[in-house]
Symmetry: C2
């Protein structure tokens, strides 16, 4: 099924091509078609959403063949420089790389993510790279869904390495680790202090830790930081039978250590593919994604229901003041929304 919103309702002055045409163009490597498709994926307009959904159905058989890598790290860790150096190395190995961003809070955090494209100047110009800045605004769930679909579109376009970037300070890291094969955390050679900006629990999400800026005067500090992180991880993390989280050093500025990061990504993929853990992770991610979309849509519909909307502020106030149990407050609201279905 192909949908084609009318010219008048399209994005800008161009006519929106059919999803079949777009899918064919994307698969043929047309970067503009890919960029336009992602714009439609990011749109919240119902006709755009329907178009994007049809497009995804067309692309889906051609997805799944990339290495999906999440990269997180606080501002200042040199994430953009790392992605530039890493991306150029990966391209040098014969791959094509797409870089996406998840950052629903970019306004608040200063929008450092991919906003400053000049930091990835060379990668941006490279024909084997596709760089897409963060969709602005929206809930984390919405942004995460759009990023997931953009990732699939990039796979259909033949990018066999997809990097999803986050700033490492918010909620989005869990969302990203739920959509990638490998979640990489970039750290500075500063020991524990530099983790202050990182949200609790994020270190535990990492499949690979890379201490960046291991150059010049910081080489020793980086080596020390690696030893400390290795020790702490061994102590605090449940060892997986498939994978022991490596802690590497690199210098995105000089390129030293970056090939080893890419080799480790390959080793990770091979290890998890051999044990079946990679497929299992992706299947579980797809299932979880479906359920999180269901839960989010149900909660949205609930919040928009007129009677719920009217009663919700009072109910929340009663609960937070201790005038009503959460159970009683929830049930009162749910009866408005579900009617007879509550006991069904």
């Amino acid at each position: 099924m192909t949908a084609s919103p009318s010219q008048a309702s399209g994005t800008g002055s161009r006519a929106v091509p059919s999803t079949a045409e777009t899918a064919a163009a994307i698969r043929a490597g047309d970067r503009r078609a890919l960029a336009r498709a992602i714009t439609m994926i990011e749109s919240t307009r119902p006709d755009h959403r329907a178009w994007a959904e049809d497009l995804m159905a067309e692309l889906l058989p051609h997805t799944g063949k990339s290495v999906r890598i999440g990269i997180s790290g606080v501002p200042g860790v040199g994430k953009s420089t790392f992605i530039e150096t890493f991306g150029l190395h990966v391209i040098g190995q014969g791959h094509r790389i797409a870089v996406l961003a998840v950052d629903p809070s970019s306004q608040r955090t200063g929008g450092s993510i991919l906003g400053d494209k000049t930091r990835m100047e060379e990668l941006t110009r490279n024909h084997s790279a596709f760089i897409r800045p963060s969709p602005s605004g929206g809930t984390l769930g919405g942004v995460a869904r759009r990023t997931r679909e953009a990732m699939l579109a990039c796979e259909a376009a033949g990018y066999d390495v997809v990097v999803v970037e986050t700033v490492g300070v918010g909620q989005s890291e869990t969302a990203v680790s739920d959509m990638v094969d490998l979640f990489m955390l970039l750290l500075l050679p500063g020991g524990g202090d530099e983790l202050q900006g990182i949200k609790k629990g994020i270190v535990e999400l990492a499949d690979l830790i890379v201490v960046n800026k291991a150059d010049g005067a910081l080489v020793d500090a980086a080596r020390h930081a690696v030893a400390e992180y290795r020790h702490a991880l061994a102590l605090l993390r449940q060892p997986s039978k498939d994978w022991k989280v490596p802690v590497l050093t690199c210098s995105a500025a000089t390129g030293v250590g970056v090939p080893e990061v890419w080799e480790t990504v390959g080793r990770y993929r091979a290890t998890l593919a051999a044990s079946g853990a990679l497929d299992a992770r992706r299947v579980e991610q797809a299932r979880a994604w479906m359920w999180s979309e269901i839960a989010e849509t149900l909660t949205d519909a609930f919040r928009r229901h007129p009677a719920v909307r009217a009663d919700l502020p009072g109910a929340e106030r009663a609960v937070t003041r201790g005038d009503a149990t959460p159970t009683a407050a929830a049930r009162g609201l749910l009866e408005k929304f579900l009617g007879n279905r509550t006991d069904g």
Copy 2:
């Protein structure tokens, strides 16, 4: 409002007293009334649920005055012995203690939680202690809700210390940390190896870590473990401005170190109360509890909807096989459930 299900529908042969009578009896310290009320709280029968909800409304003004402590640790760490020694010490300080358990998977894990009451023989017999085994079966959400309400009932009964116990290997630790003021993790003096049974992320939930069995030949090992955990925590955890997670040792068998654990709990409470963080945590917990009940009920109603029920297996199969995007599959199911409301 008071409800009183008829004698025929009561739990067993006794008539179910009114919620007003039960609330008065609970507040007067009638342990049987408390135990019966918790049985009603744990029931899934709609008339029992309604009765329990009315009871909670009556008790709510008299809740909130206890120290709520979550205690987690793998089987073998000496949890029951610790709770017995800790409980008797706390009672010796003039308090009354209630011990509840969250363990939806108790059948699978061998039911060690509170099943072996002989391990808490002295505490069980003490009139200042109230010990309630885990409600068996049910979803984690259901068990967590029931445990939360049982906790409130114990508070209304005048227990000013409530311990909620979990086995430390499943999902329930997050649920418990979401209902208590302080989450305590018990560890063995074995270093990192003994964390193998502990689920990823649980160490990061802990507000207090206690290395148990620091006695006899293990004193040195325990001291070494404490130093290692302290170091690892400092490195991997984001320091809170209110509280740096202490790592203590104790021997539940000899009692050495147990008073210090209780003192630390008190210091934690005082610190967080002074900064306002304690109230903020409880308010946020109540709000989150309401929303998790809403989400759970919505998802339940969704799953029970006849058309959803019919289509769900196919949709999940399509998603996990990669024949449909999670978004498309979710939307197909949601249209069955919400009808016109999807776009509303």
